[in-house]
Symmetry: C2
Subunit: 492 residues, 2 copies
Amino acid sequence: MRAYQSLEKTFARLNNLDHLSSIVGWDYAAMMSKKGSGSRAAAMAQLDVMRHEVITDAQLKALLQSAQSETLDHWQQANLREMKRRWEGENLLPAALVEKQAIVHGRCEHAWRSQRPANDWKGFLVNLNEVVALARERADRLSQARGLGRYDSLMDQFEPGTRSTDIDRIFGDLKTWLPTFIASAQKKQASEPVITAQGPFAIEQQRALGLEIMQLLQFDFDGGRLDVSTHPFCGGVPDDVRITTRYREDDFAGSLMGIVHETGHARYEQNRPNDWLAQPVSQARSMGIHESQSLSFEMQIGCNPAFMRLISPLIKKYLGDQAAFAPDNLGKLYTRVKPGFIRVDADELCYPAHIILRYEIERALIEGEIEAAQIPEIWDAKMMQYLGVDTKGNFKDGCMQDIHWTDGMFGYFPSYTLGAMYAAQYFATMRKTKPALDADIEAGQFQFIFDWLKTNIWSMGSQLETDALVTKATGEALNPMHFKAHLQARYL
Amino acid sequence: MRAYQSLEKTFARLNNLDHLSSIVGWDYAAMMSKKGSGSRAAAMAQLDVMRHEVITDAQLKALLQSAQSETLDHWQQANLREMKRRWEGENLLPAALVEKQAIVHGRCEHAWRSQRPANDWKGFLVNLNEVVALARERADRLSQARGLGRYDSLMDQFEPGTRSTDIDRIFGDLKTWLPTFIASAQKKQASEPVITAQGPFAIEQQRALGLEIMQLLQFDFDGGRLDVSTHPFCGGVPDDVRITTRYREDDFAGSLMGIVHETGHARYEQNRPNDWLAQPVSQARSMGIHESQSLSFEMQIGCNPAFMRLISPLIKKYLGDQAAFAPDNLGKLYTRVKPGFIRVDADELCYPAHIILRYEIERALIEGEIEAAQIPEIWDAKMMQYLGVDTKGNFKDGCMQDIHWTDGMFGYFPSYTLGAMYAAQYFATMRKTKPALDADIEAGQFQFIFDWLKTNIWSMGSQLETDALVTKATGEALNPMHFKAHLQARYL
């Protein structure tokens, strides 16, 4: 087992560097002063170089090979598999390509920050073409080395083992019923008036409310904290998880449910397998499984009418008594369906439409079936088809709205909707054992739910591959019917 | 100039690692969750290893030698000198000694945290003996390599160029008049009653007051921030300086003047020579010069009656109107002389006595004139002699009160009092040009003072050695008479 042990040491070193990177990354978003960005960028770049040096050490290849024939237990075998995955991720590509991508992505994202508000598609396209060319080169190389399709080889970085044939099947079905479903839900809601809450809502009160709800959801405050950043996220390290939100004085709802969402991510991180925290096998299984936790909290628990009955008194306690804070009305506020331009503002029903559209475009782009210049036209057509929304000429609220492509993150978008589907499937499974789950939620009794998630997901880390994890937990691989059933129960 | 340029690259890399270390170090003290310490310690230890690897690279010795004969300008020459200083600091000692010290210091400090409250001198002594033995070995080795005395070779790490013959002369003089001086000041103050401020003082109000006073003192909030930690400090990086304080609801005074003190450190850091920030020559000159900035702010500006007149309305604005907040009374609060056990709680007059005592003991210890077992007896005698305070048997408030020796930081204590003396000398110099300096302070007009400090100290970094820096700024090397004159003017 000597090769394996030597690998564990190397990956523990890597974990230390990841720790530093997480903490300064969180600091960058939540704490850093305006003038601090220059020296911080240099320090973070150097950290990346050092991480790259560790993972591209020439000895690792042979060690990974030798370890295969050593006697390893279950967890060690899985750890070795995950080591190999990370090693491949950084060793199958020539350094020149990685460096070039870093430069081109940086340039594209930086320019995008001013091109987007200026609605400057033409300017953006120049950089995007470069980004796409390099992404295709990366896809080609990974595809050859790993025997996967081109788009699949990119998606595999975020969703190990998931293939576009799966996504095609899942999204293909969704596409057939989603537009009609959205229309029906809107029609039903048209006769259900909702009362808007009247601000301002003091930020200190919103924060106190958020903290109490995190407590309710059993966030471990000895191992984490809540702060503010422009773009909410969950960062930090497993024993010190840092979630962020942003507050608006005129709207408490977004920040509050944002906190619930990030608390889902956080509890996954806080409960990763304790004995393996320094090793790759302790990592969250995939982006989709991570999102399945935040969406279990936000959509399955948070937007559930039972949860609204639970938190209505808390909202009143911190924000004062208003008719809008009645449980029924809160439920309506959080489930209002309204197709719009912006993905991150989309409701639970429209969100998948945004994802399908992006998936279809980015897949065709990477496979070379379309060119970046064609994106707006296709975008406009699909937005009209899926959501009935006209985005013609409105690039900034259309195909220029997301940061993902500027950074060459092709293959990431499906994770969001996979996450929503996994979450629905978990809760369908839980309800089989415990049909009165909503009574638990209303009573603030989360132990059954959290024990289930901890046993089946959190404590498993990356021990199983995604399909095996989900099958072990729910008795079947991803089955999108549970998501449909969830939406039907909630919206029709 | 090729060797020099290659050195600049290496030291810029080192600066990036220092940046990471500063930020996670600040995070450790100000942000980290309770459970985060284990993985953080591992990550920080790894960072130290990497820094050590960079600075002990085998090529550096030859490069430092070659660069000596290259054509360098003024700043480059000074930078090379400082590079060499840092290189020597980490290359003159065998790795085994450095590692052993890290382990022994960690053990001693850790045990001290419970031994001190338990007043357990005997238990502490076991570890302290080990710490002293290693400190002596370090001193021996540095002494041989650099041709300095043993204690001097340790003090040189904090006060480059300052020797114990200087300290003996300076402290020797101070010792002759300080005890009588303290008695006279106490006698005078006995007939000047002071009104105690009545709390509680809400922490949010204290923080808002502190921020306004930082603004008044021209702290750059685009390049820094104020947070809370158990032990206040100034950390971060020059373009993002992080100062901390701690609040007590029953006492606003300590936290407020603590903020003024740290703001002095911060402005030094925020104004280090901009073109050289990634290089050693941009660093603060010494611990004593750093302390001279915090004490310029705290003692020369902050505790000045003119400053009390300036901030009295601000204190009332945030903490409410009380008789105690009248300028005269505030002045009395902040200059009350009262000998006591604890160095960090000591007033301006008693503080140097605490320092002299520690200096005399640690010097004798390192030179082998006494053993650690003798410390309590000597401590008791000197406390009685200098401050008239009886510490017999009270180890926890006596020789076990400071963290410095647990960590082997012998040679640091003199910096505190050197700082107070430099500060007095700067202000004596400023008053020669501008006798009505107090009128400026009372009016909140700090431009003359800050321009002087920026030109003479902040922007100089480590370009000059300490004596040259002080002589260029004030026309003479350190002259303790200015400190005495300052105290006489304030206390008699």
